[in-house]
């Protein structure tokens, strides 16, 4: 019988309102007990003195690139990067090749993950076939095969009627509909946020309105259909306002924010550095303030990385030719500590909630807490260790991070999945 006792850590478990020094006992892959002074006789002991012990972090928005783009990332390499970032569960988006729009692809991802991934992998299925925005994909059978949400991430459903039908259909399968909110006509040709910086650099802009009009449309459709609707990587101040408005109306509307959207503005980009190019783009400071404000107020429900690996050769091109996206699994926790906790914008327990119970509730995952009997996914991290991110030592196969060389205070120490330590800091 495998038993681990995590001793003397500061246990932060927002779902159970716990924030204090406790021991945590894990037995046969489940949480056995959370209490002071648990007897560790005969058990493996993990000394967590001075460390934070939290439910396993869930990243509800990643790209693992497999099948199809294994040169940039694989289920194995991406989930190793997740473990190294303190994540115990990741949700890969369906924009693989082939697209995850049917149960065969879903099963391939789930079964490959069982074999090679140190963390849990809960796939997200496509809304429409080939994410082409026309015919609904095999949503019901993908749910049976293991998807936890549907999304046409990166290729948003432009046809409002199709989106409405997807919301209605998904409701019966209790799946949230996640939208990458971007009106493709308004954003067409854009390379960065439309504003002073894009005008200064002569780059074509992606207006905040391209995000806002889709959030507005989707919220109205969520009200009509009663669907659970989730805004991916929210980045504009109007979008945050609209999600808060939808919540106030009692709609099942949620959203996530990425670390880069609360940590960086468009003005932080060194001229034409493609490691700062992603969608939605880094926006103006008023937008970043609104995203942080939403995290503080509760409008934002989860932190997700949108970890988007791209091979070096794809990012070493003219800025306008480079693909969108940056990797983020290994820097997410440290950025949240730096921008949200060390700055006293939110208490530590709120940050933990955004990484755990928040996404678990959106996806109806039986995770994200340390309640006795739940799966023994645990993230142990430290608040003060000084370290520097070296992207060349990343577990990811890709190197496209704007945070290479950045010095952080605090970060992951150990990652426990299903009762086993899958990663620990060197």
């Amino acid at each position: 019988m495998a038993r681990i006792v995590i001793k003397n850590g500061r246990v932060v478990d927002p779902a159970n309102n716990i924030d204090g020094i406790r021991d945590v006992a894990l037995e046969d892959g489940v949480i056995a007990e959370v209490a002071p002074d648990i007897d560790a006789t005969g058990a493996e002991e993990f000394d967590a003195s001075g460390l934070v012990v939290a439910p396993g972090f869930i990243d509800m928005h990643v790209h693992l690139r497999e099948p199809g783009f294994e040169y940039a990332e694989t289920i194995e390499s991406g989930s190793r990067a997740a473990a190294a970032g303190g994540f115990t569960s990741v949700c890969p988006m369906p924009n693989t090749s082939p697209v995850n729009d049917n149960a065969t692809v879903t099963r391939y991802i789930v079964e490959t993950a069982w074999r090679v991934a140190p963390v849990n992998v809960f796939p997200i299925g496509a809304i429409t076939m080939n994410s082409a925005g026309e015919q609904l994909s095999a949503i019901g059978s993908m749910k049976q095969a293991g998807i936890v949400a549907i999304s046409d991430d990166g290729r948003p459903v432009m046809n409002a009627r199709v989106m409405r039908r997807a919301m209605e259909f998904a409701k019966a399968f209790n799946l949230p509909v996640i939208d990458h909110c971007e009106d493709l006509n308004l954003s067409a040709g854009g390379d960065m946020h439309e504003g002073r910086e894009s005008v200064r650099l002569g780059l074509r802009g992606i207006p905040a309105a391209s995000e806002d009009v889709m959030v507005a449309r989707d919220i109205l459709l969520a009200e009509v259909t009663g669907a659970r609707y989730h805004v991916a990587h929210i980045s504009s101040h109007h979008a945050v306002e609209m999600v808060a408005f939808a919540k106030a109306r009692g709609l099942a509307v949620t959203c996530e924010a990425t670390p880069h959207h609360f940590a960086l503005t468009d003005a932080d980009m060194p001229p034409f550095d493609s490691n700062y190019k992603m969608k939605p783009p880094l926006r103006a400071c008023c937008d970043v303030d609104a995203v942080v404000g939403g995290i503080v107020s509760g409008a934002v429900d989860a932190i997700a990385t949108d970890h988007a690996p791209h091979a070096g050769s794809d990012k070493m091109q003219e800025f306008e030719k480079c693909p969108f996206g940056i990797i983020g699994l290994e820097t997410a926790l440290a950025l949240a500590l730096e921008k949200l906790v060390h700055t006293d914008r939110i208490p530590l327990a709120r940050m933990v909630e955004l990484f755990t119970w928040g996404p678990a509730r959106i996806l109806k995952l039986d995770r994200g807490t340390l309640s006795p009997g739940s799966t023994a996914d645990v993230t142990i991290f430290d608040l003060d260790r000084l370290w520097t991110y070296d992207v060349n030592r990343s577990c990811s196969k890709s190197r496209n991070s704007p945070f290479h060389g950045h010095s952080f205070r605090g970060g992951p120490v150990a990652t426990i999945v299903n009762g086993a330590v899958v990663w620990s800091v060197q």
Binding site: A188, G189, E194, G195, R196, S198, V199, R200, L201, G202, L203, R204, G205, P271, F272, S274, S313, M316, Q317, E318, F319, E320, K321
Partner: protein
């Protein structure tokens, strides 16, 4: 370290002034029967143009040759780019032949900035997408100075497709550093309001008459059909509302000059009467292009 010329924005006023002063010396050289100098003898510059260009490429080539350098010109259509080579690989290949500088024009904003991070060879930006065209702003400043002696306090109207104009951006940065008052004018869809925030001394108007009123300098921009991805204005109305005609000139200061970076589209952004009028300094601009580029090349290569 790459110490070429990527743009006007990062330069300080003294650096710009030094180039403009040196260009004045080279103007005098151009009036002598033997113009060739040997300051850059034995040096090699590569002219790498990924976009069509007649005047800029020729101007750089003549400037290099007048200083005694060897100049090689390459256009993208005949290059390895058409065989699918990446931009970095193309530049690395050329850099391996050890030229002393690469003069480059490219349709992507920031292309030379991106390359400058990887190449040891100095890169001179001869126009990058809709971002900057630094030597154009330098030759424009030289041309204004020849007529007016100073840039400080001048009212300069820049009229046309500002959003897509690298000429406008470089001129805005330069003129602002020298204390000119800049009035930008064009169809509202080509005149983002943020232009007024990128540098001090910039004002925006949608009315060509407001722009020209009391102007010392009227700078017209070419209608860039190749950069129009969509109809940002009704094409049939452009000349009516934003084309420069003789009747407008009466609104400007009596000694105002009319400039245009070329190539001009007669009857589209400028009437033939204005282009050929006494106020037009369009050919002076071309002439100054060589002098300014000699100064730039000497500054970048002479120091090595």
């Amino acid at each position: 370290m790459n110490t070429g010329l990527l743009g006007i924005e990062p330069l300080d006023r003294a650096e710009i002034q030094a180039i403009l002063d040196r260009a004045k010396d080279f103007q005098a050289v151009q009036n002598q029967p033997v113009q060739k100098r040997d300051a850059l003898r034995g040096r090699t510059v590569v002219n790498l143009f990924f976009e069509a260009s007649t005047r800029t490429r020729t101007s750089f080539e003549i400037a290099a040759k007048r200083l005694g350098a060897d100049a090689v010109s390459i256009t993208a259509s005949g290059s390895s780019v058409s065989k699918g080579e990446s931009l970095v690989d193309t530049l690395n290949t050329l850099a391996a032949m050890r030229p002393d500088a690469i003069i480059m024009r490219h349709a992507a904003s920031g292309a030379p900035h991106f390359l400058a991070r990887y190449l040891p060879t100095p890169i001179i930006n001869a126009g990058d997408g809709t971002h900057e065209h630094p030597t154009q702003a330098l030759l424009d400043a030289r041309t204004i100075l020849d007529r007016r002696g100073t840039l400080e306090g001048l009212r300069v109207a820049i009229i046309g497709d500002i959003a897509h104009s690298r000429v406008a951006r470089s001129n805005i940065y330069l003129l602002s550093k020298f204390g000119a008052h800049i009035v930008l004018c064009g169809p509202a869809s080509l005149l983002p309001v943020e232009l007024a925030q990128i540098t001090p001394g910039v004002e925006l108007t949608w009315d060509i008459r407001d722009a020209i009123k009391d102007a010392d300098v009227i700078m017209m921009l070419r209608v860039q059909l190749e950069r129009q991805h969509e109809a940002a204005y009704p094409a049939s109305e452009y000349f009516q509302f934003y084309g420069l005609r003789l009747e407008h000139l009466a609104l400007a200061r009596p000694n105002a000059i009319v400039m245009h970076p070329g190539p001009i589209n007669r009857g589209r952004e400028i009437s033939s009467e204005v282009a050929d009028s006494q106020k037009s300094v369009i050919l002076n601009q071309v002439e100054n292009g060589v002098a300014v580029r000699m100064a730039v090349l000497e500054r970048i290569l002479g120091a090595n």
